[in-house]
Symmetry: C2
Subunit: 312 residues, 2 copies
Amino acid sequence: MNFADRICAEIKKKQSHAVIGLDPVIERLPAFILDEAEQNYGKNDEGAAAAFIAFNRFIIDTVAPYVAIVKPQLAYYEVYGAAGIDAYWQTVNYAQQKGLIVIADAKRGDIDSTASAYARSFFGDASNEWQTPKKVDSLTINPYLGADSLEPFVEQAIAKQTGLFILVKTSNPSSGDLQDVVTANGTIAEQVAQLVHNYAMRDIGTSGYSSIGAVVGATYPEEQRLFREAMPVSLFLVPGYGTQGGTGKDITNAFNSDGFGALISASRSIIFAYEKNKVQTGEEVQLAIKNAVKAMNADINTALKDVNKLYW
Amino acid sequence: MNFADRICAEIKKKQSHAVIGLDPVIERLPAFILDEAEQNYGKNDEGAAAAFIAFNRFIIDTVAPYVAIVKPQLAYYEVYGAAGIDAYWQTVNYAQQKGLIVIADAKRGDIDSTASAYARSFFGDASNEWQTPKKVDSLTINPYLGADSLEPFVEQAIAKQTGLFILVKTSNPSSGDLQDVVTANGTIAEQVAQLVHNYAMRDIGTSGYSSIGAVVGATYPEEQRLFREAMPVSLFLVPGYGTQGGTGKDITNAFNSDGFGALISASRSIIFAYEKNKVQTGEEVQLAIKNAVKAMNADINTALKDVNKLYW
């Protein structure tokens, strides 16, 4: 089943366009999780990895009824070396077991043979008897190296029924340094959007959406409209909601009139929601996270309803 | 000691500007290494990781007298999950023990807090009691997200006396898709070069070179001259030599008149040199690799001598 069809079906089922970023930071984890990890493993890579696994399982159990998608960001796991990567894949596996779709936020990009190795790292490689099977559902990639660096990812994503989100316009303040530079054919981001659209047309599912999507930040609402027109069949992964300042009103332009097409990502504002109240018991941490997710869904759904884009 | 000073001293000592890419591919490894790994671990992530460690130690032992720098590419290790990353760090550790400088070819890039996490992954973080200490000497990064995505890497590289190579112009055929696009202020690659130069000026060592360098492909010799002028104090990491078609004559423009400034990288043409002769004993594999490295050094040194840029 095409990745976009799978994601649209899950979004309908959960009535949620949210993506929860699983970006653990050791010093922000609840004390009850840190204490147990330290007791069992000590303060080292293995201890941090154990804490991440426990924390992520806790979050996944809490949010699974309310959202369709999680997005663990590789950087936070790589801090702890091999143990961190083990925590990464255990998190992926647990989320998939719980019926969630996993986007690996890795922003990889390299030349042909190396791009192919990255794609096989994240999407698996059944032809390699040495590789222990493992696979995320989707991956973010960086276009700076051009078409031949994207092609191996696109080919494997389509063949393996996984998805891609190619960086077009990111949510950070300096995103315009390169992405907004004006050329004879529009901005650099617009040129990348054209590239993404060409790839997207190769694999459109019955939902009308393609497995080849784009990253388009929430912090630039007017641009979302332009990019929505430039890439009509692509799903947008939209970072910048929550801690980075975006709200439901800022992201409605990323949706098509059918009420689909955008996945709104938030991380710190959800997974560390309990910090606001300095609460520390498991039940209180869980409640704070649950309330934050429900509020995010309500915010997005209300904003979509206001512009007649709510499907359900 | 500034990273650039360290690298220039080692280059002088070894009389070599070569960087050996440690990019293992399981099906290309010598049978005597694969057989032992399979016997000990089976055909799985752990077996592949064991084979990579054995192969890399073998290569490091072989090339250490002749080169100053190795560059393991993360993609090839990520294929095997946590075990692959363990092989990565064991390789880094072994190379450093043997006096080699390690460039992690990872081409990472992300927004501020995430960029900072990636930098702490590769350059270590003494303030984090949970992280088991580990550190490469240098890292490649991708500039597509703009200045605020590069800044955390630059700050940490300078503070931790490590180095960076920021992608400016890559060696692949499609590199021009974005990098050669003409803007009001030169090409995109030229704009990135300006950014790199500004960072580079913050940390110049006694060698006259900066810890903040650039990736400039060997496949575009004329452009190297322009980039050399635009980034006079930056070390260039030059991919594209060997398998990708570059020769000694193609890379002399990447050097300054003092005979320094460029690190010429080759991977497959060196580490799989034994494949040409279908030899398989350890001694024959070692000899093929040693001869390939010595030929590469001679090719580069001769080309530099021909243009009066040979230091020794």
